[in-house]
């Protein structure tokens, strides 16, 4: 029991979901650069307190890179360089920095053990199909890049899409040769995966029990209050003209 209590705090999956939704709302209403920076810093602090300290550096780097892209876009816009490029660069740089906030929470939500996620969705009284769908998507999505790489590496020995020039000059055939094995493989995985689920009793109807217990504790609430408070303050200061 003691060991249980000493175990490192890990937010409830529902907390990550609320962070996501709160983050989405916050980036819509907070418009100033400083307000967004405060929101982003609060987001990093939450990751630190939730035991995801290792993510702070990469997210910080992404923020700086997107800031650079935005700055470059705005600079080019000023200097009158092709508007179609500069406007896109600035939009990407500015919007992507904002999106980092909900997206970082979504990544944590996706990283939760499938059992906890399903238990959380069950507690939220969502249909069982939502839990099954979430689990299947989270299990499959990370493998798409690997499947693509496996196809591309095999194609090099067959003289398909070797080099950028060859790929561009044979684009339709290359696309077909990538897409067809990818689709066939995905269909096969889908059939095998659903067969394996079926024999272990996964179905849309019927009751299920959760092995993992999930608990929304005061620490979850405190973190949510933190994000809410920062967002609220930034918004208030913005509206009152301070930021």
């Amino acid at each position: 029991m003691g060991a249980e209590k000493r175990r490192r705090f890990r937010p409830d999956p529902r907390t990550w979901l609320l962070f996501c939704l709160l983050g989405i709302a916050a980036i819509l209403v907070i418009r100033s650069e400083i307000g967004c920076l405060c929101l982003f810093l609060a987001c990093l602090l939450i990751h630190l307190l939730a035991g995801n300290g290792g993510k702070i550096l990469p997210y910080g780097l992404y923020y700086l890179i997107f800031y650079g892209i935005g700055w470059l876009g705005v600079g080019l816009m000023d200097s009158g360089v092709a508007f179609s490029v500069s406007s896109m660069l600035s939009s990407i740089g500015i919007v992507s920095r904002k999106v980092l906030v909900p997206l970082s929470f979504a990544v944590c939500l996706a990283g939760e053990p499938t059992g906890s996620l399903m238990a959380a969705l069950q507690n939220l009284h969502l249909p069982k199909a939502a839990g099954i769908g979430t689990a299947v998507v989270l299990r499959f999505f990370p493998t798409i890049a690997g499947e693509y790489r496996a196809i591309r590496s095999s194609q090099r020995f067959r003289g398909i899409g070797v080099g950028v020039l060859h790929t561009l000059t044979h684009l339709p055939a290359t696309a077909e040769y990538i897409l067809i094995p990818l689709i066939l493989r995905t269909t096969k995985v889908a059939e095998e995966l659903s067969a394996s689920m079926t024999v272990r009793g996964v179905r849309f109807s019927g009751e299920t029990a959760s092995y993992r217990s999930i608990r929304f504790c005061w620490k979850d609430a405190a973190l949510l209050v933190l994000l809410l408070a920062v967002s609220w303050t930034a918004l208030f200061l913005e509206r009152s003209g301070v930021l």
Partner: protein, 203 residues
Amino acid sequence: MKQSKFLSLKEFVIVLLLACVETAIGLVVTMPFAANLQLVYFLAPGLAGLINGIIYVLIIRKCPKIGTQFLIPAIYGLYFLFAGSVYVFIFFMILAVVNELIMLGGGYGSKIRSAVPHALTWMLNAMGSTLTMLLFRDSLVESYVAMGMDAASADAAIASLEGFWLAPQNIAIALVAAAALSIAGYALGMKMLDKHFKPAGIV
């Protein structure tokens, strides 16, 4: 055995996984064009529709049931939700329901009706950037100013950006291009059905 009108677990997983691949292709196809306004608006959505037409045709041939049309835009819309574009997500969810309604009552038996949901999905995708831009309009102005532009220039830049996204002729070009390429994708899918999927024994 009596066939259900709704997706079975197996069909649900097939549609989900193939919809994931569609979403991934939709995102990857946009990347090379991301730095150019015209290409992002006029070409990328249609191109995604063209390639995904092959997957779409396979999905509706393998799983012509209630639920299929809902899942495809729903998965794509979820990506927009977590990327902060609530409007786009809501529109995709509405489209998901609309697509299901389009196919009710024997829609899968008609080749023309079956193409409509696919075209609508990628036409809405063409409007995704516009909606996102409108959502973050004020943020863009403030950021422009914070990054050294004067307020008048920032307003002018956003106005010309808005002018581009919202010009009726541009909206028309974007929608027509997305629709035309998506329908071409659907036709390509039908060709691939006979060339690959049927002979491979997966349909």
